[in-house]
Every structure is written in C-alpha cells, then in structure tokens.
Subunit: 193 residues, 2 copies
DNA sequence: GTCTATACGACGATAGAC
DNA sequence: GTCTATCGTCGTATAGAC
C-alpha cells in the first residue's frame, strides 16, 4: 500500500531535494547556494531538479514550509508548559537557516513572491498561538491584562524576529533574554493589599 | 576652493550613483534591481559604474551607509524631546528600502561581507543612543529601573527591527504601536504612598 | 582618473529528445 | 521523469582610449 500511481516515487524525491537544500543552506549559508549544488547533491541535473519545482523561489518557499511544519510538530509533542521560547522562536539557531528565513521574509514583501502567501498565513497563525498562551497566563493571574493579548503577541513576535537580526551580526547576542525581559515586564505586579 | 585634485568630479559622480541606486531600490524593490539599470540611470556603462565601487555588495553597503547618515543628521536637527520613534526606527517606511535593510542584514551575517563592519558598528552605537534616552527617562522618574537600560535597548531595537518584518508582509501593520507598548510597560508604576 | 568595449563564468530558466 | 543543449541576464575582470 501507500502506492497511489505516479506520486509514490516523486514525492520521495521531492522531499529528498528539500532536505538536501536545507542541509546546504545550514552548512554554506543562504548566499552562494545554487540550485546546481542542490541538484548535484541529489545526483540530478538542474532541469531534473526543476521538474519538481516551478522556480528557485518556489523551492526555497517549500524548504521554509517544511521547516515550519517539522518545528510545529516537534513542539506539539512537547508537554512542558513553559515552552514559550519554542513557541515564539522556531528553534532556529543555525545561522544559515536564520539567514534564509530573514532573506525570504524580505523577498516575500512582494505580493507576487511564492513565499508571500506562506508568511501571510504564518504570522496571523503565530500571533493567535502566542495570544492564546498569553491569555492563559492572564487567566492564571500571572500576567497583567491592561494590553490586549493580540497586541502583545505582535510585540513578542517582533522581539523574536528582531533579536535574530542582531544575533546574525553578533553571535554572542542572547536571543532569549529580550523575550524573558518582555515577559517579566508583563508579570502582574504583586497585589498590595 | 573645494577643488582638491581629481576628487572633485569623482565624488560628485559617486554620490549621484548612490542616490540613483537608492531611488531604484525604493521604486522597484531590492530584487530585480541590477547594476546595469543603475548604470543606465547615470548614463554610464556597467564597468564605468564599477570604477567607483569594488563590487555590488560594496555599492549596496554604501547606499545603506548614506541612508543611515542622512537619517542620523535629520534627527539631530530635530529638537523635539519625544522623537524616540525617530531614534529607534530610522524613519524607513519605504518597502524597497526596508527590504534592502533586512536583506543586507541577513547577508552581512557573513564576517567577510562588506556590510558586516557597518552593522557591527551600527548596532552598538544605536544601542548606546537608545540606552542614553532610557537612562534620561529613568532619571526623570518616568520609567522603572529594575532592568538595565542597555538590556532594554537591545529589546527596543529588536522590536523596531522585528516589526518591520511583519510590516513587509502586511502593510497595515502598525509599526509604532509595539514600541509604544513596550514604553508603556516600562512606565514607572504610580507610587502608592 | 574617467570611462567604453568586450568577454567570461555562473546563474536560473526553458525546449525538446529519450 | 530525466536528460542534453541552449538562452538571457547577472556580476565580474581586463584592455585600452581619453
């Protein structure tokens, strides 16, 4: 079973390509990674590779999609209630992949870019997840509630994305501290009765 | 006066090129802006343009430098004490230029990239300026002081950079609200005497 | 120093044979 | 589904006119 017509082998090859591309990005960075290198790693010619994707941008978009998906699954398996760090920053701490994410986000500002739809869906979804977490903490009385969770979610995601830029330039930057700082600023003031 | 040898004309042409490049980025975006287009806009051949710059990356870096410089000067002229918005986000709200900034920051993660030095100097300088502002507000008793200004500066810059990513995808994103929110979170709690 | 002409290699993309 | 061959464009390098 699991052999439905022509999709069986093609899908396997497709994800092999995506995994190969991800590995090359992680190793050699975003710049200087050509499709020919990726193709070579899969024992394929460039057109052979392009048979599976519409364009380079399409391939990169699907690499990003795959990464997001695995990160999402991995954190669903997690049971720790204090995994907000994982919720917010996707666990991306490999320079080449952070570079990929940032570069793609910039390129996706164009509505016509294949990754635009991905980011356009991703951010509201992320926002909702973070807001849900915040709402939970507020209900527990752990966080102050004078700013709406949705607005705070935008803020927290901005912190998580933005600290990556600083980290790309200076790797000694602590990527968790700013997020912790925001959350400590959000901590409900002790009730003075 | 102001004619010291061969530099007179060359420097003029150099900044004409930078201004032309900036305008094309602003108009047509970061992607799809080739050096040949920039050269054509300056009535120059490509090699003629490259006489002034070591490489494309070098040119882009100087475009960024120029932008930062003019933004810095403009805000020094400003006297309003409440111009923290200008202090933090450099007034960049043109999609193509934000895209340029973000893409360059990503590329500059490589130590060998010409823009690396620029960002490596820029962030600590920015941090210092923001920290100075925060320290002033703390001394005035307007802000709480339980987190060091330098750490808060990292946080505020992250917010400013990060919100740009969300704005690139969704132009209706309010880029000032998250910064205002952080600052309101930082507001000194009213003294309950 | 300023600039043109020409050429090179690598890239992403496409056409068409097998 | 995968190839060879080819295309146009990119950034870059060099030679040489003025």
């Amino acid at each position: 079973m699991a052999k439905r017509g022509p999709y069986e082998k093609g899908e396997a090859k497709r994800s092999e390509i995506l995994r190969a591309a991800l590995e090359i990005f992680a190793t050699e960075g975003y710049r200087g990674t050509s499709l020919r290198k990726v193709a070579a790693k899969c024992n394929l010619s460039l057109p052979g590779l392009m048979h599976y994707f519409d364009s380079k941008e399409d391939l990169l978009t699907q690499v990003l999609r795959m990464r997001d998906e695995t990160a999402r699954i991995r954190q669903q398996e997690r049971t720790s209630p204090e995994s907000y760090r994982e919720i917010i920053r996707e666990g991306a701490s490999t320079p080449g992949l952070v570079e990929l994410f940032v570069s793609m986000a910039a390129a996706a500002s164009d509505t016509g870019h294949p990754a635009h739809a991905h980011f356009a869906e991703r951010y509201p979804m992320l926002r909702e997840r973070v807001a849900a977490y915040l709402r939970r903490r507020i209900d527990e009385g752990a966080l102050r509630s004078d700013i709406e969770p949705e607005r705070l979610a935008v803020l927290l995601i901005a912190v998580a994305d933005g600290i990556q830029l600083q980290w790309l330039i200076d790797r000694s930057t602590d990527m968790e501290q700013p997020i912790d700082d925001v959350l400590s600023l959000l901590a409900a003031p002790p009730v003075e009765d």
